[in-house]
Amino acid sequence: MSKIKVDHVYKIFGDDPETALKMLNEGASKAEIQEKTGQVVGVNDASFNVEEGEIFVIMGLSGSGKSTVVRLLNRLIDPTFGTVEVDGEDITSMDEDQLRELRSRKMSMVFQRFALFPHRTVVENASYGLEVHRLPLEERTQRGSEALKRVGLEGWDNNYPGQLSGGMQQRVGLARALAVDSDIMLMDEAFSALDPLIRREMQDQLLELQSELKKTIVFITHDLNEAMKLGDHIAVMRDGAIVQIGTAEEILTTPADDYVASFIEDVDRTRVIVASSIMRWPRETVNPHDGPSVALRKMKEAQLSQCLVMESNRKVVGVVREDDVVRLSRERAGSIEAAIDDSVPRSKPETPIAELYAAAAETSVPIVVENEDGRMMGIVPRISLLAALSGEDGTNDS
């Protein structure tokens, strides 16, 4: 069962949502509806599921409705139509008390501009959710302090937020969300206000925390690189509607429409695309027990000046070059074994291709992609690495 289930949710700001909904169903655009009826479509027919323990990223430009969507999940904004289920419970029908219970026990939130309480010390901020639970002072201070330690702010307990840098303030925001120990964390552009270096540090820290805590995280961002780095699944939003949901790689390799395609133009593809998605099978391989003339004929037919040497169990032992094989052939050697050069670059299938460029620069031998048993799954020639940079997916064998 999905942790969060959003089903055909609309948010229409204005006094006549029915008319706006009707126009939407008839295919009218957001701008048209606003012009004709004055109703503002915030979210248009959003449906998605967030699985337990995953980071679900909602990405879009400002005004795309992403911050509205995340607020529909804890009803800081009430959806106009549709249902939102958390742990199988429909939160759209909850009354005030149930809603407070949901917000204080099941969900916590991290905000773009931190939204810390400036009149409270760091530890009082971190333990705010526990104060709402009416926990005794001592216990909540202790748990707040632990949460601060977890985000690397040990010893700052009694400072005020105004005395901290932006990155540290957002760590307090993160600690405040962690301290209540809720299953779900909603992060609204949590790192967008930070400097790029601090932002990357926070992203790494979040991933590290996540590997340990396994929360269900809904993360809002306008930064595609951030989305790709953090998201197990990514939903791309435009004009209040979700245009595509998929893994980072799905979105990058098969964008749903031109909008998504233009969005991903700037992304650092090499950190998202992995070796297995651009590898192909080599045109030809030779066996270490092949005689030089057999090997030479195979290479000529495939028009290769060098060829991988693979045993019958698909383990690559090295590479042979045409010149060496010709020499062995003249010497009438029994096999090509003497010519095998075992310095072959190797990679795992899930390695991002960014990590392969250095190896590719050093040798002309294609990179061998191996599974855990060391059996070859495919190769990544240099040309495919270059093609991946330009946005060609490089999977077709040319």
Partner: protein
Amino acid sequence: MIPEIPLGDWVTDLVQFLRDNLDFLFQAIRSLLGGLIDGLEWLFNLPPSLVMIALFAILAWRLRGIQFAIFTALAFALVDGVGMWEPTMDTLAVVLVATLFAVAIGIPVGILAARNAVVNAAVRPILDFMQTLPVFIYLLPAIMFFGIGTTPGAVATLVFALPPAVRLTNLGIRQVDPEVVEAANAFGATQNQILFRVQFPLALPTIMAGVNQVIMLALSMVVIAGMAGAGGLGAEVVRSVSTVNIGLGAESGISVVILAIFLDRVSEAMSAIGQPPSE
């Protein structure tokens, strides 16, 4: 032509009606306000003036430092020296009681106005009315309701000094960063928890600026209160004007100024207490 509108008659009738039917209420207010003011006057005049001056100087020192303490001691010594000690203490009592009631009424109304658009819309014109209507216009009915003495002066002072407490409380609460309030909501805080633990503390500097304004306005009303028969420096000023006594005017006038500066600086310093340090 517009027919004649007998507004004056209506108001006269209304005042008469209130006097006839709500007398018990006015008597209760008179006992409460008058009693409080009399009590404070008695208290302030109980110790010798030198003891009071020392207390004021210590307060000044704790709140603002040694310089202000020296100023306070010298200034109040001057007040005592020109023979204005007792009327100054009487005026201080009236100002404090009027401020107390203005704050006790103004802050809750300001909070309501900040949270409710209807209340806000209703309160604004009333505040404008209270601040711009010439004081004598409501001093007269006040005297009719409460009789000559300290109470009508204190009531007129209260009416005149109340608006900043409402306005600045309203403003202060509205100025609290909406994202911070949203954060409190997102963590499941109740409306009361948000009001008392987030909005009010964050609005406090603005609210305290309002209290400072209340005190200053209350002090500026002492002369008017003196006309209504309240004692204190107001009475001295009125006496100096009616007898063309320039010397007495100077002595009472300078005492008003000294009390004003003292109250302003002290209330200003108090509003900074409990505020977190910034970077």
